[in-house]
Symmetry: C2
Subunit: 312 residues, 2 copies
Amino acid sequence: MNDDTALIAIDWGTTSARAYRLGAGGRVLDERSAPLGIQQVRDGAFAAAFASLLGPWQGLAVPRLACGMIGSRQGWVEASYRACPVAISALAGDLTHTPGREMAIVSGITCRDDSGVPDVMRGEETQIVGLVDETSDASLVVQPGTHSKWTLVRRDPAQGAIIHRFATYMTGETFAVLRDHSILGRLMRPAETFEREAFERGARRAIASRSGGEILHQIFGARALGLFEEIAPESIADYLSGMLIGAEVAAGARWAGQASDEDALWLAGSEVLCMRYALALRLVDRHARIAPSDVAARGLWRIALHAGLVKG
Amino acid sequence: MNDDTALIAIDWGTTSARAYRLGAGGRVLDERSAPLGIQQVRDGAFAAAFASLLGPWQGLAVPRLACGMIGSRQGWVEASYRACPVAISALAGDLTHTPGREMAIVSGITCRDDSGVPDVMRGEETQIVGLVDETSDASLVVQPGTHSKWTLVRRDPAQGAIIHRFATYMTGETFAVLRDHSILGRLMRPAETFEREAFERGARRAIASRSGGEILHQIFGARALGLFEEIAPESIADYLSGMLIGAEVAAGARWAGQASDEDALWLAGSEVLCMRYALALRLVDRHARIAPSDVAARGLWRIALHAGLVKG
C-alpha cells in the first residue's frame, strides 16, 4: 500500500471528516470517512480522532495535509486567515502544523465587503483550488450549505488562479432554525419527495423582491398559505427553502455583478443542494455546472504540489 | 364597583392576557393581567383561565369583548378573518361568541399582497381601531413584535377609518431563533444597556442593501466581526437586531410607498421595541409618534360602541 501513496488529504469539517489516500498525480486510491467533525470531538481529543480516521494508513510515511474547520479556533490548532485576493501559492506558503506534527493545515481566507465588514471561509477555499484547474477563465463558484459561499476567481498571468473576493450567505442555517424553532415549522409535514413546484413558487417570489428586508415579510407567507390551506403541509418546507435560496441567488447574482455573465458558474456541494441551487439559478438566467465530488482532495493535492510536499 | 363598569375589555394574546374594566366613555377604571396566553393554557381550559383573569370582576353583569390570539384555531373558539379593506363597522358586525357566551371575540383580518399570497393579523387590528381615533388623516401604523405588522389606514367619507392593507414581517422571531439557535449567538455576551451605536451600525448596513437576500449575507457579519474582535461581545446582539430591524424598516417604507410620506406614522408596541424602531425609522427619514399603551382597550371600546354593546 505504501508504495503507491503520495499524500493523505483530509477534509475535516464541523460535522464530519473525510480522508483520501492519493497516489501519483493526485489520483484518489482510497478514502475513509468518520463522524468526527470538530463538534463531535470532546475535550480536544483530536489526536485520537485523527488516529481513528486514518486507521491502517497511520503507518504510511507520507505527508498529510488537511483543510476545513479543523483549523478554526475550536479545532485542533488555529490556522490563520489570508486576506483576499489570495493565490494558490500564498495558501501553500502558509501551512500550520499540529502540535505533534501529525499533519499540516491550510489557512482560511478572509475579505471585506464594501462597507468594511469582514467575511471568513475555511475549507471552501481548498475546494475552489481543486475546481479552478478545470476552467481556464474567470469563474464564479457557489458552494451551497449551512453558510453558502459565493466566490469570484480571476486568473493572474503571473500567479495563476486568484481568489478575488467572496461573500457568505447564512441561508442553510436560517432555513434550519426557522423550520425547527419558529412558528413556520408548526404547519409543516415531512415530504417524501422534493416538492419542486412549491420550491420554484417560493424562489420566484423571493427573486422578484427589491428590498433587503422583504424576505422577512415573504417567509411569513409560508404560515398564512398553510393556515388557509392554499399549500399542502408537505410542501411548506420546500416553499420556505425556495424563498430563502431564491433570495440568496438574487442577491448573489447582483453581488457577482455583470462581469460574471460570461464566466463559468460552478456549483460545489451536496448533490441535493446543488440541484436546488441550479433550479433557482435558472430562474435568474444562470446556468451552473456541477463540480465533481472530490474537489477538496484535488485542491489539497494542488496545494501540496505548490508547497513542495509532493512531486507533480 | 358594578355601577361604574360599562365593559370588560380583554386583550388575550399568545403569551399573556390583560383585562380592562372600562367605565363611561371607555375610561379605564382598573386593569388585571395574567400569564395566561393561549400557549400557557393546557387542555383547552380557557373557561378556567377566563375566571382566573377576571377574578372579582366575574360577577359584573356587563358585556365582555376580547381580541387577539384567543380567537385563533389554537384559542378558545375560532373567529373568522375579514378581508381588507375593513371598516370598524364590519369588525363590530362580525363578533364570535365563546361556547358558554362568556365573552365575544373580534375577528382577525386578512389581505393579499401583489403576488396573491395571504397575510393574517389577529389582535393588532383592534389596537389600530383604538389608535386611528387619534388622527384625522390617512396613517401608517407599525406594530413591532415577534411578527411586526405594517398597516395603511385610510379614511372613507361614509365608513370612517378603513384598514386598507397590511404586511407582516417575521423580524422579532427571526432575531430570536438566530440568537438562540444559530452560530450567531455563540460569540454574544449579554449587555446591561442598549448598545445604540452597534444597533445603528447594523441598521445602516441593512438599509443600504438593495436586494431581498442581502440580509442573509449581512447577518453573517455579526459572526465575522466577533471572530476578529471588531465588535464587543456585548454589542453583537444589538448589531444583529439593528440589521434585522433596519431591513424591515427599509422594506416597510418601500411597501408603504410614497403616499405615506405625509401621513401620520404611528408606532404601537412595547416601549423598548418602539424606541428601537423609532431610531431605525429616523435613518430612513421617517419620524414616528409612539402610541399610548392602552390602545387595545380603546379599540375594544370603539368596536363595542359600533356593535351596540355599550352606549357612547
